[in-house]
């Protein structure tokens, strides 16, 4: 009965390790694909390697996880950082090898082996718990690939614990167990414990496995230094009519120009990324509102974001609370865009603004605020900017669109060395 349990425990750990290896490998492939600075699909399924299909919520959760600040380390030193899934690949490779060793060795393996697996096997679970808490509290969603890795980690831990528990049971029974006839039972001899040095040796090997892929990745990742500065510069930062909005937090040290549309989802996500990364508070921001709404922006013939002009006016009217109103626009963009569609859409958006920000009622629609918004759009004409949002200029240099997600900390560090990651 003992051998099947010990081997069964090793088999469970092996299954978990292989599953974890596959999930983390696909995660790494998805991440590494982005090193060409283009957008790529993200695999998102409980079936390792399968796409997310039409499940948009699941797809968004995996993209949110991949683009988040928690998906990689050293993100301000290496473009995109070093994905944490690389450490998982190494660790699961080790556990797969170790579980194979236990499975093949059976009772011939030293008792230290099951003790080690029981101890070290919980380390992926600890990491999984940390990542799950981050997913719940910071990202607000769980990506299927990540959940798959959590389950795999748990299997490794269960396998290790089961092996250790079985070993303990056998040790307690010991060779003194007796049979029905009162004679000592023909129990298999207890395995050797093995030298204590085995555990630190295996731990060191686990560490080596865990960091090796990351080291290879770090050494082979291409240089991006020349790419981050190749996306243009502002021709003129002049604002003779003082139309632009200035947002200067107490710790601001880096002047930037930010071209945004208050009803643009990407702008909201980008803003959130800057806030989460602790970057926004270090920026001395000059805000250029560029609503993608033909109501006030002559660069469009039809409104891409109906209602964006009205929200932009609200931001301008808010003066000292401009950032609050802008962030409200980002949060409520779906409802506001829906309200802005169709006949009298603008009136519905204005009503929503007035309901939330009643004090702005007098100012909105005034000649002065409309002229100021015109000046902002004209700022983009003077600088021949693309009709797109968001755009961030660090000093006069434009942050490339390709650097606005996983490459953001690296690109900002290159463009603005003064920006220290908090």
């Amino acid at each position: 009965m003992g051998k099947p349990i010990a081997r069964g425990a090793a088999a469970i750990a092996l299954c978990g390790a292989v599953l974890g290896l596959v999930f983390s490998a696909f995660s790494t492939i998805d991440y590494t694909a982005h090193l060409d600075r283009q957008l790529h699909a993200v695999r998102c399924s409980f079936i390792p390697g399968a796409g997310g299909g039409a499940d948009e919520v699941a797809q968004n959760a995996c993209q949110a996880a991949l683009y988040s600040a928690f998906s990689a380390v050293l993100r301000d030193r290496v473009w995109g950082g070093i994905p944490i899934s690389l450490f998982a690949i190494g660790a699961f490779s080790f556990f797969a090898a170790f579980a194979t060793y236990l499975l093949v060795s059976g009772p011939r393996a030293p008792r230290r082996a099951s003790q080690f697996l029981a101890l070290a096997g919980w380390s992926p679970v600890v990491v999984s718990i940390v990542m799950a808490v981050i997913s719940a509290t910071q990202l607000g969603s769980f990506c299927k690939t990540c959940v798959g890795t959590y389950v795999a980690s748990l299997l490794v831990a269960i396998g290790g614990t089961l092996a250790w528990w079985h070993d303990r049971q056998r040790a307690r029974r010991g060779p003194a167990a007796t049979g029905d006839d009162g004679e000592p039972a023909a129990a298999p001899p207890l395995q050797k414990l093995g030298p204590a040095s085995l555990i630190p040796t295996w731990l060191a090997t686990l560490g080596l496995f865990a960091v090796a892929p990351a080291l290879v990745y770090h050494e082979s990742v291409p240089s991006y230094a020349k790419h981050v500065e190749g996306c243009g510069k502002l021709e003129s930062t002049a604002d003779p009519k003082k139309a632009l909005i200035h947002i200067t937090p107490a710790g601001a040290k880096q002047p930037v120009f930010m071209v945004v549309d208050p009803l643009c989802a990407t702008c909201g996500a980008f803003h959130q990324r800057l806030v989460t990364e602790g970057i926004f508070d270090q920026l001395d921001t000059t805000l250029v509102l560029f609503p993608l709404d033909s109501e006030c922006n002559w660069n469009l013939t039809t409104p891409m974001h109906p209602g964006a002009c009205a929200v932009s006016e609200a931001v301008l009217c808010a003066e000292g609370r401009a950032l609050q109103v802008l962030e409200w626009g980002y949060e409520e963009y779906e409802a506001l865009l829906a309200a802005g569609k169709g006949k009298d859409g603008d009136k519905r958006v204005i009503a929503a603004i007035e309901k939330r920000w009643p004090t702005l009622k007098e100012c909105m629609g005034s000649k002065e605020v409309r002229m100021r918004l015109d000046e902002m759009v004209r700022f983009t004409v003077t600088n021949k900017l693309p009709v797109a949002t968001p755009q961030l200029f660090v000093g006069p240099t434009r942050l490339c669109d390709e650097d606005s997600d996983i490459g953001l900390p690296y690109a900002l560090r290159k463009l603005a060395p003064a920006l220290a990651k908090r």
Binding site: T32, Q38, I89, F98, Y101, P213
Partner: protein, 231 residues
């Protein structure tokens, strides 16, 4: 002999080696794509922010205004404004065709009316100039086409229409702190020589609506408008 350690080591080495090889391959492939870059064909075309371009910006309209812009100093910066002979020569079109070009600006622009023999902007005229100037939106150029009625000599009326055009420009200059005004405002003064307005223009956005507008009165004027064309 227990084969477990050997098999375990071999599995470990194979998995780690495979992982390292895979990582290296993936990064290498991405590096190659990065080196080649996205081709121009693959890149989505993104429009660049520009001046407004309204439906009335017909090729003929733009052609005439382009000539005026170049010859009357807005682009070259050599001279300021165009006198009647210049306009007639540059436009190379008849009076009616010239006026017809401005017809689409009926709602966008306005007619600032002056008293007989005067180049002074009264209160209504000033208000209209301010209103229209402030309603710039995406336009780049502001045109002032000043005229005079047929009372008096040709020379006198040419000078008078010139002063009327300047009155509009000075009002903008004094009241609005507009940088590079000379690059935005195009002045044309026609005297009574070219492109006189008909009575139908009394129904446009005039500074003295319903106050005895006739052919003489409507030509004691300056037509002003932002032009929403990429010239």
């Amino acid at each position: 002999m227990n084969p477990g350690p050997i098999i375990g080591s071999m599995v470990g080495a194979a998995l780690l080696g495979g992982a390292l090889f895979g990582v290296s391959q993936q990064v290498g492939a991405a590096q190659e794509r990065l080196r080649k870059g996205v081709t121009v064909v693959d890149q989505p075309k993104v429009a660049v922010a520009d001046d407004a371009e309204a439906d009335y910006c017909t090729p003929k309209f733009k052609e005439v205004l382009q000539r005026v812009l170049h010859a009357c100093g807005l682009v070259s910066g050599q001279r300021r404004g165009c006198k009647p002979a210049d306009v007639q020569r540059l436009a190379a079109i008849s009076d009616e065709e010239f006026n017809e070009l401005f017809a689409p600006l009926e709602k966008r622009g306005g007619v600032v009316m002056f008293a007989d023999g005067s180049d002074k902007l009264d209160e209504d005229a000033t208000k209209l100039v301010d209103e229209l100037w402030e309603n710039r939106r995406g336009a780049r150029y502001f045109f002032v086409v000043a005229r005079a009625s047929k009372t008096g000599t040709r020379k006198f009326n040419q000078a008078l229409s010139h002063r009327r055009a300047n009155s509009v420009k000075f009002r903008i200059e004094d009241h609005f702190n507009e940088p590079d005004l000379d690059k935005k405002v195009g002045l044309l003064w026609l005297g009574y020589d070219f492109a006189q307005l008909g009575k139908a223009y009394c129904s446009w956005n005039v500074s003295k609506p319903g106050k005895g507008c006739n052919v003489e009165a409507i030509n004691r004027s300056a037509f002003i408008s932002w032009v929403d064309c990429r010239l």
